[in-house]
Amino acid sequence: MNVIEAEGVTFAYDERPVVEDVSLTVEEGEFVGLIGPNGSGKTTLLKLLLGLQRPDSGTVRLFGEPTGEFSDGERLGYVSQKSTDADRSMPITVREVVTMGRYPHVGLRRLREEDREIVESALDRVGIAHLADRRINRLSGGQKQRTYIARALASEADLLALDEPTVGVDADSRDRFYDLLNELNERGITIVLIEHDIGVITEHVDTVVCINRELLHHGSPDAFAESDALARAYGLEGTDSRLPVRNRTA
């Protein structure tokens, strides 16, 4: 089954088009890297795919359902690019954050013992069990991102979406972070990841999606390396953005 199906998705902020006529599918168990220059609409596209934004035209389906009607929030895990204001100032422990992953499951009822066990094992799995009682804003960037991954695991998400998770994380922790993602992917979690470091992406993912407002490449990393999508994506910056670009799929 396809986890994500986007068809002709177009979105504009006011009159300025940010994403234009993007169609793509993400299959179950795929590890997709989403790349493009700054301001190319990567983050907006990811938000459209998750249903955080509604496309002006076109449709997005999550697990076969239109995003507007999709209600299994627990199936989606999200790790955003920047810390929220709250996680910089709010006193909240790592365990409390990870426990939020159980909230879509429990609704208004109380947390049960099994919920707490799932939280503990999620903490364990990403290697931050020893930090569980620490305040989240005292953690390093890499540890914070692991916390959010653990929240997605506690939620038992099938789809993990990450928006530049390793910005400001040192190279060593970044490698270990990608090892963790690969491990989760091997266990069947579908991953869509925005990353600015193209070298890192091609090393770890199954599929590269390259956009600059429009879809420029959707295929394997090898095909991407051979194509001219990269040059076109980055070369388009500063030139007439209405230049017609033919879609290229591998």
């Binding site: 998750l50 249903g51 955080l52 999709f70 209600s71 299994d72 929030g73 627990e74 989606l76 999200y78 955003s80 929220t84 204001d85 709250a86 996680d87 100032s89 709010m90 006193p91 909240i92 422990t93 409390e96 954050v97 939020m100 909230y103 879509p104 429990v106 208004l108 947390l111 009682d133 620490r134 305040r135 005292r138 959010y148 929240r151 939620s155 979406a161």
Partner: protein, 324 residues
């Protein structure tokens, strides 16, 4: 598979509907029975025993018993709701709602010259503050302005309306003053009962929806992706705030009431790493501020609302010093 899911959904939504249809009237009935049946008895027993044990005018006077009770209830409800608000950078919303509630009080007192009901001003304040709460929510969703713009408009607009009604109506004198600055000696028993109802309602709602409120406080985007109805819980929180504000206004006054939502919470946040612990601690600080504030105010004959707020700020400064 799809058919089964939709049957399950249907059964689930039926169960939910049943829970609402049966649960809401039932809990209202229980609440009513508690406020008008059990609570007055408990109240008599508690203060009878306390007065017998301590034997001071401070706990034996009916005025102060009512004031103390109201204060203690405020010390629970206000910091709990305030914990969400402070962590969402919405500390001033209480202030705005308090000023619109003041307009409600003025309208209530004005109507009170036609209708005989002692709690009418408070009830009117409740209605107006709840409407204002929904108004702020509506403006912040439907305009691009920052949250502080609708808050500033509501704050000044509410107060202006209150003053307009006061100046148009008959001389209100002491009663208006008691709602502006708070007056611990001016809490009729009916208001104490209203206060109990509000506190129980607020605690019940927070108990039921704490998880959702915490999620939208911490990470709205992730909450939306988890398909939590952010708009609904935003609205719920702001309406709960309005309820607490109106309840607390009798003692602290419209001008000072927001302090109880903010200051004990700010103190607690200095001393803890955990949100839930912080919430518990803020209630402790809230109670401490109320009790010490009332005692100091009695000791030195200073306005009670002011001493409660000053005590809370003193606790905050101590917490700040400890956390450094």
């Amino acid at each position: 598979m799809n058919a089964r899911t939709s049957f399950a959904d249907l059964a689930d939504s039926r169960r939910r509907l049943l829970a609402v249809v049966v649960g809401v009237p039932l809990s209202l009935l229980v609440l009513y029975a508690f406020i008008y049946g059990l609570f007055p008895v408990l109240y008599e027993v508690f203060w009878g025993a306390t007065c017998g044990a301590v034997g001071s005018w401070l706990v034996c006077s009916g005025f102060l018993q009512r004031g103390f009770t109201t204060g203690l209830l405020i010390g629970i409800a206000a910091p709990i709701v305030g914990t969400y608000l402070v962590n969402r950078q919405m500390a001033l919303i209480g202030e705005a709602l308090a000023h619109t509630a003041f307009a409600g009080v003025a309208i209530g007192i004005f109507l009170g010259s036609f209708v005989e009901w002692q709690s009418l001003p408070l009830f009117a304040a409740l209605v107006v503050a709840a409407l204002a709460a929904l108004g702020i929510q509506y403006i912040s969703v439907h305009t691009d302005s920052n949250a502080d713009v609708p808050i500033a408009i509501m704050l000044t607009g509410g107060f202006a309306l209150g003053i307009a009604v006061v100046s148009y109506g008959v001389a209100f004198g002491r009663e208006i003053n008691s709602y502006l600055f708070g007056d611990i000696l001016f809490v009729p028993f009916g208001n104490v009962q209203l206060m109990v109802g509000l506190t129980v309602a607020v605690l019940g709602m927070v108990g039921l929806t704490h998880k959702q409120l915490l999620f939208i406080t911490f990470d709205r985007e992730a909450a939306r992706i988890a398909r939590i109805d952010v708009w609904f819980y935003d609205t719920l929180l702001i309406v709960l705030t309005a309820l607490v504000i109106v309840a607390a206004m009798q003692i602290l006054g419209a001008i000072l009431v927001a302090a109880m939502l903010v200051v004990p919470v700010a103190a607690a946040m200095q001393l803890t790493n955990s949100f839930t612990q912080g919430m518990g601690l803020s209630v402790v600080f809230g109670e401490l501020s109320v009790i010490l504030g009332i005692l100091f105010s009695y000791q030195w004959s200073i306005a009670t609302g002011a001493t409660i707020v000053l005590t809370a700020i003193a606790i905050y400064l101590v917490a700040l010093a400890i956390s450094r």
